[in-house]
């Protein structure tokens, strides 16, 4: 698994983080982190546990508000953004501990991803008529497209709580993709998967990037995946950035080796 990723049209800077610091009580989760993500690229964030990777994603989509620094997305700089605004601007994400709606079926979960694109008025909803009905069917069509893409047709009516972990992760990805995001944040999308599932997931991520042009930021521990998938890598340790560059550059970075990668014995 070591072919170079195909050349993609990597565009301008889509997301820029400037001096982000985040503290919880006395604990500094992030300390002056700055980097950028370009359109259409796949950017990986790696680092030991507790390095602040998830917190970084939370800052990007507004779940946490940084105590210092600012985030610039598509030209607009902000520091305090509510998560639903982030969604509105085209940022979607998945979570390390799956954040699916356990009481609903797979289909309904993915349909919630389309919420922002549904506009039918309340009265139409009450009667399930006119715009409400046609919207519902149109979005169902889109969602089925994604279900095909991720090969989860056989479980579309199953309540999510009953699915195996690997399938739940796939449904979460489907929900994120359903929003047709420009920026997709993936928090350890392959955690707990076997080799076959990982290959499938990699393929899905690459396809999403290819077919939908989605820019992807992903947190991942499997170095093989990181090296193969990503265009550039950011390395965090104790909340600080200690490496930033192409996979090869980062692999040779001494600080990164000391903190995270280790040496071959």
């Amino acid at each position: 698994m070591s072919t170079a990723p195909p050349q993609r049209h990597i565009g301008d800077v889509l997301l820029k983080l400037d001096g982000i610091s985040l503290a919880f009580g006395g604990v500094k989760a992030l300390d002056d982190v700055s980097f950028e993500v370009r359109s259409h690229e796949i950017r990986a964030i790696i680092g030991p546990n507790g390095a602040g990777k998830s917190s970084l994603l939370n800052v990007i989509n507004g779940v946490y508000h940084p105590s210092q620094g600012a985030v610039t997305y598509k030209g607009t700089t902000y520091r305090q953004m509510r998560p639903h605004e982030a969604a509105r601007r085209g940022i979607a994400r998945t979570f390390q501990n799956i954040a699916l709606f356990k009481g609903m079926t797979v289909l309904d979960n993915i349909m919630t991803g389309r919420t922002l694109k549904m506009h039918a008025g309340f009265l139409f909803q009450c009667l399930y008529f006119g715009k409400a009905r046609s919207e519902e069917l149109a979005h169902r069509r889109k969602v089925e497209h994604i279900i095909d893409f991720l090969q989860i047709e056989h479980i579309r009516k199953t309540p999510v709580g009953r699915l195996a972990y690997g399938l739940q992760k796939r449904v979460e990805l489907a929900r994120a993709l359903a929003a047709e995001p420009e920026l997709l944040l993936l928090d350890e999308p392959m955690a707990g998967m076997n080799l076959e599932e990982k290959e499938d997931m990699c393929r899905f991520i690459l396809d999403a990037n290819d077919e939908f042009g989605t820019t992807i930021v992903l947190i991942e521990h499997d170095m093989g995946v990181v090296m193969d998938l990503s265009d550039r890598v950011v390395v965090l340790d104790y909340g600080r950035k200690i490496g930033d560059g192409s996979p090869d550059e980062v692999r040779r970075n001494q600080a990164v080796i000391d903190a995270y990668l280790g040496v071959r014995h």
Partner: protein, 303 residues
């Protein structure tokens, strides 16, 4: 001035009674994260059992003592039954399910208590002096009249709070209880027996309910409306924080005083009855401004 002091003192005394009930809630919440709606029903049940047993044992040499011991035994048995039949099967369910289960328990206790012991009003006399005492003669002309049973209640409550505080902070069981409240699984993994802990907690809460029942009962008589006290304890907990013993006391006092003062001074302007909802509206305001209460802890959700 004297009148105002009297009203305030009256409010403080009522507040103490609320605090006693709220204490039971706090104990259970602190140790298991369950909001025990049945606490009020437990107060009534304990008081009813005691009063009726005292009557049955009228002829013996010390009806109160024997009845007290028997009632304590009953409350222990009750705690055991609740743990076995309700808490254990529901151990991993969300808090709301447990809350609703305690709602069910309160109905059962109410029905059972009244079915077995009857639903009349019973006077409870455990020897608490009832003569009013005059206080503050130096500050206020004529002094302020304070019912001595209220003073006794305050004293008992104070001792109880002190005892519970020591229990939680200093003893091994207290430490275990705090561990359980923090994280069930972690506590189990260091060998703390969850089920035993819960029986202990509910027993202690039951005993606190008994004390509250005795104090309330001797003041108001043991009757069905005692069970409604539970509903009043909710605002106390909102004010004080669900997990704080000190908060239960302070919250109870604030609500007690607030109720009495607003009833006496604002009541006539709006036709009275402020007491019915003052506590709740105050709690509502607190919820909007400081949801964790005066002494509670802020919860941070990890995503």
């Amino acid at each position: 001035m004297g009148f105002f002091l009297e009203v305030v003192l009256g409010g403080l005394m009522a507040g103490v009674l609320y605090s006693l009930v709220a204490l039971g809630f706090v104990l259970i919440f602190k140790a298991s994260g369950v909001f025990n709606f049945a606490q009020g029903a437990m107060v009534l049940f304990a008081a009813l059992t005691l009063v009726r047993l005292m009557e049955i044992l009228k002829e013996t040499f010390s009806p109160f003592l024997i009845a007290l011991l028997l009632t304590i035994a009953v409350m222990i048995a009750l705690a055991w039954v609740i743990e076995r039949l309700v808490l254990r099967p529901l151990v991993n369910q969300p808090g709301i399910s447990l809350f609703m289960a305690t709602l069910g328990i309160s109905y059962v206790l109410d029905g059972f208590g009244q079915a077995v012991w009857g639903s009349d009003v019973y006077a409870l006399d455990v020897g608490i002096p009832k003569r009013p005492i005059v206080l503050f003669e130096s500050m206020v002309p004529g002094g302020v009249l304070v019912p001595s049973e209220d003073l006794a209640a305050a004293l008992i409550a104070g001792l109880l709070v002190l005892g519970l505080g020591v229990f939680f902070q200093r003893t091994r069981i207290g430490r275990a209880l705090r561990a359980v409240a923090d994280d069930h699984q972690a506590a189990q993994s260091v060998g703390i027996p969850l089920n035993t802990i819960w029986v202990i907690v509910w027993t202690v809460a039951g005993l606190v309910a008994l004390v509250a029942g005795i104090v309330w009962g001797s003041k108001l008589g043991v009757q069905f409306s005692l069970g409604l006290v539970a509903l009043k304890a909710l605002p106390v907990l909102i004010l004080g924080g669900f997990e704080s013993i000190v908060g239960a006391v302070v919250g109870g006092l604030i609500i007690g005083v607030g109720e009495k003062v607003s009833e006496v001074y604002l009541g006539p302007a709006v036709g009275g009855g402020i007491e019915n909802w003052f506590a709740y509206v105050l709690a509502l305001l607190f919820l909007l401004v400081r949801p964790e209460g005066l002494f509670g802890e802020r919860h941070i959700d990890r995503v």
